[in-house]
Symmetry: C2
Subunit: 329 residues, 2 copies
Protein backbone atom coordinates (compact mmCIF):
# COMPACT_ATOMS: atom_id res chain seq x y z
CA UNK A 1 0.00 0.00 0.00
CA UNK A 2 1.35 3.47 -0.86
CA UNK A 3 2.61 5.81 1.83
CA UNK A 4 0.41 8.91 2.03
CA UNK A 5 0.88 12.05 4.14
CA UNK A 6 -2.23 13.10 6.04
CA UNK A 7 -3.06 15.12 9.14
CA UNK A 8 -5.91 14.71 11.61
CA UNK A 9 -5.81 18.10 13.31
CA UNK A 10 -4.40 21.54 12.54
CA UNK A 11 -1.13 22.46 14.18
CA UNK A 12 2.64 22.55 13.80
CA UNK A 13 4.69 20.34 11.47
CA UNK A 14 4.38 17.35 13.81
CA UNK A 15 0.70 16.86 12.93
CA UNK A 16 1.80 15.47 9.55
CA UNK A 17 1.63 11.64 9.55
CA UNK A 18 2.82 9.11 7.01
CA UNK A 19 0.12 6.45 6.67
CA UNK A 20 -0.16 3.35 4.48
CA UNK A 21 -3.48 3.50 2.65
CA UNK A 22 -5.09 1.37 -0.07
CA UNK A 23 -4.26 2.42 -3.61
CA UNK A 24 -7.16 4.48 -4.98
CA UNK A 25 -8.47 4.43 -8.53
CA UNK A 26 -9.01 7.62 -10.53
CA UNK A 27 -12.66 8.55 -11.16
CA UNK A 28 -14.22 10.44 -14.06
CA UNK A 29 -11.88 13.21 -15.23
CA UNK A 30 -9.04 12.18 -12.93
CA UNK A 31 -5.60 10.64 -13.38
CA UNK A 32 -3.28 8.93 -10.91
CA UNK A 33 0.42 9.68 -10.53
CA UNK A 34 3.22 7.59 -9.20
CA UNK A 35 4.80 10.50 -7.34
CA UNK A 36 8.57 10.96 -7.63
CA UNK A 37 9.05 14.45 -6.21
CA UNK A 38 6.93 16.92 -4.22
CA UNK A 39 7.39 20.69 -4.26
CA UNK A 40 6.58 22.39 -0.95
CA UNK A 41 4.60 25.60 -0.75
CA UNK A 42 3.88 28.12 1.98
CA UNK A 43 0.18 27.61 1.23
CA UNK A 44 0.47 24.07 2.60
CA UNK A 45 1.91 25.31 5.89
CA UNK A 46 -0.98 27.73 6.24
CA UNK A 47 -3.44 24.94 5.33
CA UNK A 48 -1.85 22.65 7.94
CA UNK A 49 -2.21 25.47 10.51
CA UNK A 50 -5.86 26.06 9.64
CA UNK A 51 -5.05 29.55 8.40
CA UNK A 52 -5.53 29.09 4.66
CA UNK A 53 -8.25 30.05 2.18
CA UNK A 54 -9.39 26.39 2.33
CA UNK A 55 -10.21 24.66 5.63
CA UNK A 56 -9.17 21.01 6.09
CA UNK A 57 -11.70 18.21 6.66
CA UNK A 58 -10.07 15.46 8.71
CA UNK A 59 -8.33 13.24 8.00
CA UNK A 60 -6.99 15.50 5.29
CA UNK A 61 -4.47 15.03 2.52
CA UNK A 62 -2.21 17.95 1.64
CA UNK A 63 -0.03 19.20 -1.18
CA UNK A 64 -0.28 21.11 -4.46
CA UNK A 65 2.79 20.19 -6.48
CA UNK A 66 4.15 16.82 -7.50
CA UNK A 67 6.14 15.45 -10.41
CA UNK A 68 5.84 11.83 -11.42
CA UNK A 69 4.55 9.33 -13.92
CA UNK A 70 0.92 8.71 -14.87
CA UNK A 71 0.04 5.16 -13.78
CA UNK A 72 -3.78 5.12 -14.13
CA UNK A 73 -6.35 7.11 -16.06
CA UNK A 74 -10.03 7.57 -15.19
CA UNK A 75 -12.90 7.68 -17.68
CA UNK A 76 -13.53 10.86 -19.65
CA UNK A 77 -9.90 11.92 -19.91
CA UNK A 78 -7.89 12.58 -23.03
CA UNK A 79 -4.49 13.90 -24.03
CA UNK A 80 -2.61 12.08 -21.27
CA UNK A 81 -1.26 8.51 -21.49
CA UNK A 82 -0.10 6.04 -18.88
CA UNK A 83 3.65 6.49 -18.58
CA UNK A 84 3.60 10.25 -19.27
CA UNK A 85 6.07 12.28 -17.25
CA UNK A 86 4.05 15.15 -15.76
CA UNK A 87 3.81 17.57 -12.90
CA UNK A 88 0.78 19.18 -11.28
CA UNK A 89 -0.54 22.71 -11.65
CA UNK A 90 -2.22 23.81 -8.39
CA UNK A 91 -5.84 24.02 -9.52
CA UNK A 92 -7.71 21.74 -7.16
CA UNK A 93 -8.68 21.34 -3.51
CA UNK A 94 -5.42 20.91 -1.58
CA UNK A 95 -7.22 18.79 1.02
CA UNK A 96 -9.23 16.52 -1.25
CA UNK A 97 -6.52 15.97 -3.87
CA UNK A 98 -3.36 16.61 -1.82
CA UNK A 99 -0.28 15.15 -3.53
CA UNK A 100 2.08 14.48 -0.58
CA UNK A 101 2.71 10.73 -0.78
CA UNK A 102 3.79 7.92 -3.08
CA UNK A 103 0.55 8.08 -5.07
CA UNK A 104 -1.77 10.96 -5.89
CA UNK A 105 -4.98 11.40 -7.84
CA UNK A 106 -5.59 14.78 -9.45
CA UNK A 107 -8.00 16.24 -12.03
CA UNK A 108 -6.76 15.81 -15.61
CA UNK A 109 -6.72 19.58 -16.15
CA UNK A 110 -4.10 19.88 -13.40
CA UNK A 111 -1.38 17.80 -15.08
CA UNK A 112 1.11 19.12 -17.60
CA UNK A 113 4.21 17.70 -19.18
CA UNK A 114 7.51 19.38 -18.35
CA UNK A 115 10.65 19.59 -20.48
CA UNK A 116 12.89 16.49 -20.80
CA UNK A 117 15.84 18.69 -19.87
CA UNK A 118 14.53 19.13 -16.32
CA UNK A 119 15.05 16.61 -13.55
CA UNK A 120 12.02 15.29 -11.70
CA UNK A 121 13.04 17.45 -8.72
CA UNK A 122 12.95 20.53 -10.96
CA UNK A 123 9.67 19.28 -12.44
CA UNK A 124 8.08 19.65 -9.01
CA UNK A 125 9.27 23.28 -8.86
CA UNK A 126 7.63 24.86 -11.88
CA UNK A 127 3.94 25.61 -11.80
CA UNK A 128 3.16 27.28 -8.50
CA UNK A 129 6.11 29.63 -8.70
CA UNK A 130 6.02 30.57 -12.36
CA UNK A 131 2.24 30.74 -12.83
CA UNK A 132 1.90 32.84 -9.66
CA UNK A 133 4.54 35.32 -10.80
CA UNK A 134 3.37 35.25 -14.44
CA UNK A 135 -0.22 36.09 -13.47
CA UNK A 136 0.71 39.18 -11.46
CA UNK A 137 3.60 40.50 -13.53
CA UNK A 138 2.58 39.59 -17.07
CA UNK A 139 -1.11 38.69 -17.32
CA UNK A 140 -2.42 41.46 -15.04
CA UNK A 141 0.66 43.66 -14.57
CA UNK A 142 1.51 43.96 -18.30
CA UNK A 143 5.15 44.36 -17.30
CA UNK A 144 7.20 46.46 -19.74
CA UNK A 145 10.96 46.61 -20.02
CA UNK A 146 11.01 50.23 -18.77
CA UNK A 147 9.36 49.16 -15.51
CA UNK A 148 10.97 48.70 -12.10
CA UNK A 149 9.64 45.78 -10.06
CA UNK A 150 10.01 45.52 -6.29
CA UNK A 151 9.97 41.86 -5.24
CA UNK A 152 9.65 41.17 -1.52
CA UNK A 153 10.38 37.88 0.27
CA UNK A 154 12.55 37.42 -2.78
CA UNK A 155 14.36 34.24 -1.69
CA UNK A 156 11.15 32.24 -1.82
CA UNK A 157 10.52 30.10 -4.89
CA UNK A 158 7.88 32.56 -6.12
CA UNK A 159 10.17 35.51 -5.40
CA UNK A 160 13.00 33.97 -7.42
CA UNK A 161 10.53 33.14 -10.21
CA UNK A 162 9.47 36.80 -10.22
CA UNK A 163 13.11 37.90 -10.52
CA UNK A 164 13.61 35.56 -13.49
CA UNK A 165 10.39 36.67 -15.21
CA UNK A 166 11.20 40.36 -14.64
CA UNK A 167 14.66 39.90 -16.15
CA UNK A 168 13.23 37.89 -19.08
CA UNK A 169 11.20 41.01 -20.01
CA UNK A 170 14.27 43.25 -19.56
CA UNK A 171 12.78 45.21 -16.65
CA UNK A 172 14.57 46.17 -13.41
CA UNK A 173 14.27 43.58 -10.61
CA UNK A 174 14.78 44.94 -7.10
CA UNK A 175 14.68 42.21 -4.48
CA UNK A 176 14.20 42.64 -0.75
CA UNK A 177 15.44 40.42 2.04
CA UNK A 178 15.47 40.99 5.77
CA UNK A 179 19.12 40.33 6.56
CA UNK A 180 22.52 40.50 4.87
CA UNK A 181 22.93 36.72 4.68
CA UNK A 182 20.88 36.27 1.50
CA UNK A 183 21.95 39.42 -0.32
CA UNK A 184 24.67 37.88 -2.48
CA UNK A 185 22.52 34.88 -3.36
CA UNK A 186 19.77 37.19 -4.64
CA UNK A 187 22.25 39.10 -6.79
CA UNK A 188 23.53 35.77 -8.09
CA UNK A 189 19.91 34.78 -8.82
CA UNK A 190 19.57 37.75 -11.17
CA UNK A 191 18.29 40.65 -9.06
CA UNK A 192 19.61 43.98 -10.33
CA UNK A 193 19.58 45.37 -6.79
CA UNK A 194 18.90 44.02 -3.32
CA UNK A 195 17.44 46.05 -0.45
CA UNK A 196 18.22 44.66 3.02
CA UNK A 197 15.13 45.82 4.89
CA UNK A 198 16.60 45.40 8.39
CA UNK A 199 19.38 47.87 7.53
CA UNK A 200 18.09 50.09 4.72
CA UNK A 201 15.12 52.43 4.18
CA UNK A 202 13.24 50.56 1.47
CA UNK A 203 11.33 53.52 0.07
CA UNK A 204 14.38 55.81 0.00
CA UNK A 205 16.52 53.19 -1.71
CA UNK A 206 13.82 52.31 -4.25
CA UNK A 207 13.44 55.99 -5.12
CA UNK A 208 17.20 56.38 -5.45
CA UNK A 209 17.44 53.36 -7.76
CA UNK A 210 14.74 54.78 -10.06
CA UNK A 211 15.72 58.48 -10.18
CA UNK A 212 12.87 59.31 -7.82
CA UNK A 213 10.22 57.57 -9.87
CA UNK A 214 9.52 54.63 -7.53
CA UNK A 215 8.46 51.08 -8.28
CA UNK A 216 5.93 50.42 -11.06
CA UNK A 217 4.93 46.97 -9.86
CA UNK A 218 5.32 45.62 -6.33
CA UNK A 219 4.92 41.90 -5.73
CA UNK A 220 4.47 40.97 -2.11
CA UNK A 221 3.26 37.99 -0.03
CA UNK A 222 3.73 39.67 3.36
CA UNK A 223 0.98 42.33 3.73
CA UNK A 224 0.42 43.61 7.30
CA UNK A 225 2.00 46.96 8.19
CA UNK A 226 4.60 46.28 5.46
CA UNK A 227 2.02 47.45 2.89
CA UNK A 228 2.44 51.04 4.08
CA UNK A 229 6.19 50.83 3.38
CA UNK A 230 5.48 49.38 -0.04
CA UNK A 231 3.18 52.31 -0.79
CA UNK A 232 5.99 54.71 0.05
CA UNK A 233 8.33 52.88 -2.34
CA UNK A 234 5.70 52.91 -5.11
CA UNK A 235 5.62 55.38 -7.97
CA UNK A 236 2.65 57.20 -9.48
CA UNK A 237 0.13 54.73 -10.86
CA UNK A 238 1.97 51.74 -9.38
CA UNK A 239 0.27 48.42 -8.86
CA UNK A 240 0.88 46.47 -5.65
CA UNK A 241 0.05 42.77 -5.87
CA UNK A 242 -0.61 41.14 -2.50
CA UNK A 243 -0.43 37.39 -3.03
CA UNK A 244 -0.16 36.15 0.52
CA UNK A 245 -0.77 36.91 4.17
CA UNK A 246 2.53 36.08 5.85
CA UNK A 247 2.25 38.90 8.36
CA UNK A 248 0.23 37.98 11.45
CA UNK A 249 -0.84 41.63 11.86
CA UNK A 250 -3.77 43.49 10.26
CA UNK A 251 -3.02 45.31 7.02
CA UNK A 252 -3.71 49.06 7.07
CA UNK A 253 -4.62 50.43 3.64
CA UNK A 254 -2.24 53.30 2.73
CA UNK A 255 -5.07 55.66 1.79
CA UNK A 256 -3.12 58.90 1.57
CA UNK A 257 -0.40 57.48 -0.68
CA UNK A 258 -3.03 55.64 -2.71
CA UNK A 259 -4.98 58.84 -3.36
CA UNK A 260 -2.00 61.04 -4.09
CA UNK A 261 -0.17 58.50 -6.27
CA UNK A 262 -3.17 56.69 -7.78
CA UNK A 263 -2.00 53.35 -6.37
CA UNK A 264 -3.72 50.05 -6.98
CA UNK A 265 -3.57 47.33 -4.30
CA UNK A 266 -4.75 44.04 -5.70
CA UNK A 267 -5.31 40.80 -3.85
CA UNK A 268 -4.16 38.01 -6.11
CA UNK A 269 -3.68 34.25 -6.15
CA UNK A 270 -2.75 31.93 -9.00
CA UNK A 271 -6.22 30.40 -8.77
CA UNK A 272 -7.51 33.30 -10.86
CA UNK A 273 -5.16 32.20 -13.64
CA UNK A 274 -5.75 28.47 -13.46
CA UNK A 275 -9.53 29.02 -13.46
CA UNK A 276 -9.27 31.06 -16.67
CA UNK A 277 -8.51 28.78 -19.65
CA UNK A 278 -7.07 31.58 -21.80
CA UNK A 279 -4.80 32.87 -19.06
CA UNK A 280 -3.71 29.33 -18.14
CA UNK A 281 -2.77 28.59 -21.76
CA UNK A 282 -0.79 31.83 -21.96
CA UNK A 283 0.97 31.11 -18.68
CA UNK A 284 1.92 27.57 -19.71
CA UNK A 285 3.30 28.77 -23.03
CA UNK A 286 5.28 31.51 -21.28
CA UNK A 287 6.74 28.99 -18.84
CA UNK A 288 7.59 26.42 -21.56
CA UNK A 289 9.25 29.15 -23.66
CA UNK A 290 11.25 30.39 -20.68
CA UNK A 291 12.35 26.92 -19.57
CA UNK A 292 13.31 26.15 -23.17
CA UNK A 293 15.36 29.29 -23.64
CA UNK A 294 16.89 29.06 -20.18
CA UNK A 295 15.59 32.46 -18.98
CA UNK A 296 13.54 30.48 -16.44
CA UNK A 297 15.36 27.89 -14.35
CA UNK A 298 14.02 26.49 -11.07
CA UNK A 299 16.25 27.10 -8.05
CA UNK A 300 16.23 24.16 -5.63
CA UNK A 301 17.06 25.11 -2.05
CA UNK A 302 17.27 21.63 -0.58
CA UNK A 303 15.73 18.19 -0.93
CA UNK A 304 14.31 15.92 1.76
CA UNK A 305 13.05 12.33 1.74
CA UNK A 306 9.33 11.58 2.17
CA UNK A 307 10.08 10.21 5.64
CA UNK A 308 11.44 13.68 6.51
CA UNK A 309 8.25 15.56 5.59
CA UNK A 310 8.02 17.10 9.07
CA UNK A 311 11.63 18.28 8.89
CA UNK A 312 10.96 19.66 5.40
CA UNK A 313 8.04 21.74 6.72
CA UNK A 314 10.09 22.91 9.67
CA UNK A 315 12.90 23.91 7.33
CA UNK A 316 10.49 26.02 5.28
CA UNK A 317 9.28 27.68 8.48
CA UNK A 318 12.88 28.49 9.44
CA UNK A 319 13.13 30.80 6.41
CA UNK A 320 16.71 29.71 5.75
CA UNK A 321 16.03 28.51 2.21
CA UNK A 322 16.75 30.24 -1.06
CA UNK A 323 14.45 28.66 -3.61
CA UNK A 324 12.25 25.61 -3.66
CA UNK A 325 12.20 22.85 -1.06
CA UNK A 326 11.51 19.49 -2.73
CA UNK A 327 10.74 16.12 -1.17
CA UNK A 328 11.88 13.10 -3.17
CA UNK A 329 9.84 9.92 -3.09
Amino acid sequence: MPKIVRFHETGNAYVLRIEELPLSEPKEGEVRLKVEAIGLNRAEIMFRQGMYLETPEFPSRIGYEAAGTVDAIGPGTSGIQIGDRVSTIPSFSVGRYGVYGESAIVPIHAVARYPETLSVVEGAAIWMQYVTAFGALIEYGRLKKEDAVLITAASSSVGLAAIQITKSIGAMAVATTRGMDKKQALLDAGADHVIVTDKEDMAAKMMALTDGKGADILFDPVAGPFLEKLARAAGAGARIFEYGALSPSPTPFPLFDALSKGLTVRGYTLFEIVANPGALTRSKQFVYDGLGSGTLKPVIARTFKLEEITEAHRYMESNQQIGKIVVTV
Copy 2:
Protein backbone atom coordinates in the same frame (compact mmCIF):
# COMPACT_ATOMS: atom_id res chain seq x y z
CA MET B 1 -11.96 96.10 -6.30
CA PRO B 2 -13.34 92.56 -6.65
CA LYS B 3 -14.54 90.63 -3.64
CA ILE B 4 -12.33 87.56 -3.09
CA VAL B 5 -12.77 84.75 -0.56
CA ARG B 6 -9.60 83.94 1.37
CA PHE B 7 -8.69 82.35 4.68
CA HIS B 8 -5.77 83.09 6.99
CA GLU B 9 -5.83 79.97 9.15
CA THR B 10 -7.28 76.46 8.89
CA GLY B 11 -10.51 75.79 10.72
CA ASN B 12 -14.28 75.68 10.48
CA ALA B 13 -16.40 77.55 7.91
CA TYR B 14 -16.00 80.83 9.83
CA VAL B 15 -12.35 81.17 8.79
CA LEU B 16 -13.54 82.12 5.27
CA ARG B 17 -13.36 85.90 4.74
CA ILE B 18 -14.62 88.07 1.93
CA GLU B 19 -11.91 90.63 1.15
CA GLU B 20 -11.69 93.41 -1.43
CA LEU B 21 -8.42 92.98 -3.30
CA PRO B 22 -6.89 94.71 -6.33
CA LEU B 23 -7.82 93.21 -9.68
CA SER B 24 -4.96 90.94 -10.83
CA GLU B 25 -3.74 90.51 -14.39
CA PRO B 26 -3.26 87.07 -15.93
CA LYS B 27 0.36 86.03 -16.53
CA GLU B 28 1.83 83.76 -19.21
CA GLY B 29 -0.55 80.88 -19.92
CA GLU B 30 -3.33 82.22 -17.71
CA VAL B 31 -6.77 83.72 -18.27
CA ARG B 32 -9.00 85.76 -15.99
CA LEU B 33 -12.70 85.10 -15.42
CA LYS B 34 -15.46 87.37 -14.31
CA VAL B 35 -17.00 84.75 -12.02
CA GLU B 36 -20.78 84.29 -12.15
CA ALA B 37 -21.23 81.01 -10.26
CA ILE B 38 -19.05 78.84 -8.02
CA GLY B 39 -19.52 75.09 -7.54
CA LEU B 40 -18.63 73.85 -4.05
CA ASN B 41 -16.65 70.68 -3.47
CA ARG B 42 -15.86 68.55 -0.45
CA ALA B 43 -12.18 68.93 -1.36
CA GLU B 44 -12.42 72.63 -0.48
CA ILE B 45 -13.78 71.86 2.98
CA MET B 46 -10.88 69.48 3.58
CA PHE B 47 -8.44 72.10 2.24
CA ARG B 48 -9.95 74.73 4.56
CA GLN B 49 -9.52 72.29 7.47
CA GLY B 50 -5.89 71.57 6.59
CA MET B 51 -6.74 67.92 5.84
CA TYR B 52 -6.37 67.89 2.07
CA LEU B 53 -3.73 66.58 -0.33
CA GLU B 54 -2.57 70.22 -0.70
CA THR B 55 -1.66 72.38 2.30
CA PRO B 56 -2.67 76.08 2.30
CA GLU B 57 -0.13 78.91 2.42
CA PHE B 58 -1.69 81.92 4.12
CA PRO B 59 -3.44 84.04 3.17
CA SER B 60 -4.88 81.43 0.83
CA ARG B 61 -7.47 81.55 -1.92
CA ILE B 62 -9.76 78.55 -2.32
CA GLY B 63 -12.03 76.94 -4.90
CA TYR B 64 -11.87 74.59 -7.89
CA GLU B 65 -15.00 75.25 -9.93
CA ALA B 66 -16.37 78.47 -11.35
CA ALA B 67 -18.43 79.43 -14.36
CA GLY B 68 -18.17 82.87 -15.86
CA THR B 69 -16.92 85.02 -18.71
CA VAL B 70 -13.33 85.47 -19.82
CA ASP B 71 -12.39 89.13 -19.25
CA ALA B 72 -8.60 89.09 -19.70
CA ILE B 73 -6.08 86.83 -21.42
CA GLY B 74 -2.39 86.46 -20.59
CA PRO B 75 0.42 86.01 -23.12
CA GLY B 76 0.99 82.59 -24.66
CA THR B 77 -2.65 81.52 -24.68
CA SER B 78 -4.76 80.47 -27.64
CA GLY B 79 -8.19 79.06 -28.35
CA ILE B 80 -9.99 81.26 -25.81
CA GLN B 81 -11.32 84.77 -26.46
CA ILE B 82 -12.40 87.57 -24.18
CA GLY B 83 -16.16 87.18 -23.72
CA ASP B 84 -16.12 83.37 -23.92
CA ARG B 85 -18.56 81.64 -21.57
CA VAL B 86 -16.50 79.00 -19.76
CA SER B 87 -16.20 76.99 -16.60
CA THR B 88 -13.12 75.59 -14.86
CA ILE B 89 -11.82 72.03 -14.79
CA PRO B 90 -10.05 71.37 -11.45
CA SER B 91 -6.47 70.98 -12.65
CA PHE B 92 -4.53 73.55 -10.67
CA SER B 93 -3.46 74.43 -7.13
CA VAL B 94 -6.67 75.14 -5.21
CA GLY B 95 -4.77 77.58 -2.97
CA ARG B 96 -2.82 79.52 -5.58
CA TYR B 97 -5.61 79.71 -8.17
CA GLY B 98 -8.71 79.37 -5.95
CA VAL B 99 -11.82 80.63 -7.77
CA TYR B 100 -14.10 81.70 -4.88
CA GLY B 101 -14.73 85.39 -5.56
CA GLU B 102 -15.86 87.88 -8.18
CA SER B 103 -12.68 87.43 -10.21
CA ALA B 104 -10.40 84.44 -10.70
CA ILE B 105 -7.25 83.71 -12.66
CA VAL B 106 -6.69 80.15 -13.82
CA PRO B 107 -4.36 78.34 -16.25
CA ILE B 108 -5.68 78.30 -19.82
CA HIS B 109 -5.76 74.47 -19.84
CA ALA B 110 -8.31 74.57 -17.01
CA VAL B 111 -11.06 76.42 -18.87
CA ALA B 112 -13.62 74.79 -21.12
CA ARG B 113 -16.75 76.01 -22.80
CA TYR B 114 -20.03 74.48 -21.67
CA PRO B 115 -23.24 74.01 -23.65
CA GLU B 116 -25.48 77.05 -24.32
CA THR B 117 -28.39 75.01 -23.02
CA LEU B 118 -26.99 75.03 -19.49
CA SER B 119 -27.43 77.92 -17.07
CA VAL B 120 -24.34 79.46 -15.50
CA VAL B 121 -25.28 77.71 -12.23
CA GLU B 122 -25.26 74.36 -14.04
CA GLY B 123 -22.02 75.36 -15.76
CA ALA B 124 -20.33 75.46 -12.35
CA ALA B 125 -21.54 71.90 -11.67
CA ILE B 126 -19.98 69.92 -14.50
CA TRP B 127 -16.32 69.18 -14.42
CA MET B 128 -15.43 67.96 -10.94
CA GLN B 129 -18.40 65.61 -10.74
CA TYR B 130 -18.41 64.19 -14.25
CA VAL B 131 -14.65 63.94 -14.79
CA THR B 132 -14.21 62.28 -11.38
CA ALA B 133 -16.89 59.68 -12.12
CA PHE B 134 -15.83 59.25 -15.76
CA GLY B 135 -12.22 58.54 -14.80
CA ALA B 136 -13.08 55.75 -12.37
CA LEU B 137 -16.04 54.18 -14.16
CA ILE B 138 -15.10 54.60 -17.81
CA GLU B 139 -11.42 55.45 -18.28
CA TYR B 140 -10.06 52.99 -15.69
CA GLY B 141 -13.11 50.89 -14.85
CA ARG B 142 -14.08 50.12 -18.48
CA LEU B 143 -17.68 49.85 -17.33
CA LYS B 144 -19.80 47.46 -19.41
CA LYS B 145 -23.57 47.29 -19.56
CA GLU B 146 -23.58 43.87 -17.84
CA ASP B 147 -21.84 45.36 -14.80
CA ALA B 148 -23.34 46.27 -11.44
CA VAL B 149 -21.96 49.44 -9.84
CA LEU B 150 -22.21 50.20 -6.13
CA ILE B 151 -22.15 53.97 -5.58
CA THR B 152 -21.74 55.15 -2.01
CA ALA B 153 -22.42 58.65 -0.65
CA ALA B 154 -24.67 58.72 -3.66
CA SER B 155 -26.44 62.02 -2.95
CA SER B 156 -23.24 63.98 -3.44
CA SER B 157 -22.70 65.68 -6.79
CA VAL B 158 -20.09 63.06 -7.74
CA GLY B 159 -22.37 60.24 -6.58
CA LEU B 160 -25.25 61.52 -8.71
CA ALA B 161 -22.86 61.95 -11.65
CA ALA B 162 -21.80 58.32 -11.20
CA ILE B 163 -25.45 57.20 -11.25
CA GLN B 164 -26.03 59.11 -14.49
CA ILE B 165 -22.86 57.78 -16.13
CA THR B 166 -23.66 54.21 -15.06
CA LYS B 167 -27.15 54.47 -16.52
CA SER B 168 -25.81 56.06 -19.72
CA ILE B 169 -23.82 52.84 -20.29
CA GLY B 170 -26.86 50.70 -19.46
CA ALA B 171 -25.28 49.14 -16.36
CA MET B 172 -26.97 48.63 -12.98
CA ALA B 173 -26.60 51.55 -10.56
CA VAL B 174 -27.00 50.68 -6.88
CA ALA B 175 -26.83 53.75 -4.64
CA THR B 176 -26.24 53.81 -0.91
CA THR B 177 -27.40 56.39 1.59
CA ARG B 178 -27.33 56.33 5.36
CA GLY B 179 -30.95 57.11 6.16
CA MET B 180 -34.40 56.73 4.60
CA ASP B 181 -34.82 60.46 3.93
CA LYS B 182 -32.86 60.48 0.66
CA LYS B 183 -33.98 57.11 -0.70
CA GLN B 184 -36.76 58.34 -2.98
CA ALA B 185 -34.64 61.20 -4.31
CA LEU B 186 -31.93 58.72 -5.33
CA LEU B 187 -34.46 56.54 -7.14
CA ASP B 188 -35.78 59.68 -8.84
CA ALA B 189 -32.19 60.54 -9.79
CA GLY B 190 -31.91 57.29 -11.74
CA ALA B 191 -30.57 54.69 -9.29
CA ASP B 192 -31.93 51.22 -10.06
CA HIS B 193 -31.80 50.31 -6.39
CA VAL B 194 -31.02 52.12 -3.14
CA ILE B 195 -29.47 50.50 -0.07
CA VAL B 196 -30.15 52.34 3.20
CA THR B 197 -27.01 51.45 5.13
CA ASP B 198 -28.38 52.32 8.59
CA LYS B 199 -31.19 49.77 8.12
CA GLU B 200 -29.99 47.18 5.61
CA ASP B 201 -27.04 44.77 5.31
CA MET B 202 -25.24 46.26 2.32
CA ALA B 203 -23.36 43.12 1.26
CA ALA B 204 -26.42 40.86 1.59
CA LYS B 205 -28.60 43.24 -0.40
CA MET B 206 -25.97 43.76 -3.09
CA MET B 207 -25.61 40.00 -3.48
CA ALA B 208 -29.38 39.56 -3.64
CA LEU B 209 -29.67 42.25 -6.34
CA THR B 210 -27.05 40.54 -8.51
CA ASP B 211 -28.02 36.87 -8.11
CA GLY B 212 -25.12 36.33 -5.74
CA LYS B 213 -22.52 37.78 -8.08
CA GLY B 214 -21.76 40.99 -6.17
CA ALA B 215 -20.71 44.41 -7.42
CA ASP B 216 -18.28 44.69 -10.33
CA ILE B 217 -17.24 48.27 -9.64
CA LEU B 218 -17.53 50.07 -6.29
CA PHE B 219 -17.12 53.84 -6.21
CA ASP B 220 -16.56 55.24 -2.76
CA PRO B 221 -15.30 58.48 -1.14
CA VAL B 222 -15.67 57.27 2.47
CA ALA B 223 -12.91 54.67 3.10
CA GLY B 224 -12.24 53.86 6.79
CA PRO B 225 -13.80 50.66 8.17
CA PHE B 226 -16.48 50.98 5.45
CA LEU B 227 -13.97 49.48 2.99
CA GLU B 228 -14.37 46.07 4.66
CA LYS B 229 -18.13 46.20 4.03
CA LEU B 230 -17.52 47.18 0.43
CA ALA B 231 -15.23 44.17 0.00
CA ARG B 232 -18.02 41.90 1.25
CA ALA B 233 -20.43 43.42 -1.31
CA ALA B 234 -17.88 43.00 -4.11
CA GLY B 235 -17.87 40.17 -6.62
CA ALA B 236 -14.95 38.16 -7.97
CA GLY B 237 -12.46 40.42 -9.73
CA ALA B 238 -14.26 43.59 -8.60
CA ARG B 239 -12.55 46.94 -8.57
CA ILE B 240 -13.07 49.30 -5.65
CA PHE B 241 -12.25 52.95 -6.38
CA GLU B 242 -11.51 55.00 -3.28
CA TYR B 243 -11.70 58.66 -4.30
CA GLY B 244 -11.88 60.34 -0.92
CA ALA B 245 -11.16 60.09 2.77
CA LEU B 246 -14.40 61.16 4.43
CA SER B 247 -14.04 58.69 7.28
CA PRO B 248 -11.94 60.01 10.14
CA SER B 249 -10.86 56.43 11.01
CA PRO B 250 -7.98 54.37 9.60
CA THR B 251 -8.81 52.14 6.64
CA PRO B 252 -8.10 48.41 7.17
CA PHE B 253 -7.30 46.60 3.93
CA PRO B 254 -9.70 43.65 3.48
CA LEU B 255 -6.90 41.17 2.78
CA PHE B 256 -8.86 37.92 3.04
CA ASP B 257 -11.64 39.04 0.70
CA ALA B 258 -9.06 40.60 -1.63
CA LEU B 259 -7.13 37.33 -1.90
CA SER B 260 -10.13 35.06 -2.24
CA LYS B 261 -12.04 37.30 -4.69
CA GLY B 262 -9.08 38.87 -6.52
CA LEU B 263 -10.19 42.38 -5.52
CA THR B 264 -8.51 45.57 -6.61
CA VAL B 265 -8.58 48.61 -4.31
CA ARG B 266 -7.44 51.68 -6.17
CA GLY B 267 -6.83 55.14 -4.79
CA TYR B 268 -8.05 57.61 -7.36
CA THR B 269 -8.53 61.33 -7.88
CA LEU B 270 -9.55 63.26 -10.99
CA PHE B 271 -6.08 64.79 -11.06
CA GLU B 272 -4.86 61.62 -12.79
CA ILE B 273 -7.28 62.34 -15.62
CA VAL B 274 -6.67 66.07 -15.96
CA ALA B 275 -2.90 65.51 -15.98
CA ASN B 276 -3.25 63.06 -18.89
CA PRO B 277 -4.09 64.92 -22.12
CA GLY B 278 -5.59 61.86 -23.83
CA ALA B 279 -7.79 60.97 -20.88
CA LEU B 280 -8.84 64.59 -20.42
CA THR B 281 -9.88 64.85 -24.07
CA ARG B 282 -11.86 61.62 -23.78
CA SER B 283 -13.54 62.78 -20.59
CA LYS B 284 -14.51 66.16 -22.05
CA GLN B 285 -15.98 64.52 -25.14
CA PHE B 286 -17.92 62.06 -22.99
CA VAL B 287 -19.32 64.90 -20.87
CA TYR B 288 -20.23 67.06 -23.88
CA ASP B 289 -21.96 64.10 -25.54
CA GLY B 290 -23.88 63.27 -22.36
CA LEU B 291 -24.93 66.86 -21.70
CA GLY B 292 -25.97 67.15 -25.34
CA SER B 293 -28.06 63.99 -25.33
CA GLY B 294 -29.50 64.68 -21.88
CA THR B 295 -28.16 61.49 -20.29
CA LEU B 296 -26.04 63.77 -18.09
CA LYS B 297 -27.78 66.64 -16.33
CA PRO B 298 -26.34 68.46 -13.30
CA VAL B 299 -28.48 68.28 -10.18
CA ILE B 300 -28.39 71.51 -8.17
CA ALA B 301 -29.14 71.06 -4.47
CA ARG B 302 -29.31 74.71 -3.48
CA THR B 303 -27.76 78.07 -4.34
CA PHE B 304 -26.27 80.67 -2.01
CA LYS B 305 -24.99 84.21 -2.57
CA LEU B 306 -21.26 85.00 -2.34
CA GLU B 307 -21.92 86.84 0.94
CA GLU B 308 -23.25 83.52 2.29
CA ILE B 309 -20.09 81.52 1.56
CA THR B 310 -19.76 80.46 5.21
CA GLU B 311 -23.39 79.29 5.28
CA ALA B 312 -22.82 77.44 2.00
CA HIS B 313 -19.86 75.54 3.50
CA ARG B 314 -21.85 74.79 6.64
CA TYR B 315 -24.72 73.50 4.53
CA MET B 316 -22.36 71.12 2.71
CA GLU B 317 -21.06 69.91 6.09
CA SER B 318 -24.64 69.26 7.24
CA ASN B 319 -24.99 66.55 4.55
CA GLN B 320 -28.58 67.55 3.86
CA GLN B 321 -28.01 68.25 0.17
CA ILE B 322 -28.80 66.10 -2.81
CA GLY B 323 -26.58 67.32 -5.62
CA LYS B 324 -24.38 70.33 -6.13
CA ILE B 325 -24.24 73.41 -3.94
CA VAL B 326 -23.61 76.49 -6.06
CA VAL B 327 -22.79 80.04 -5.00
CA THR B 328 -23.98 82.78 -7.35
CA VAL B 329 -21.91 85.93 -7.75
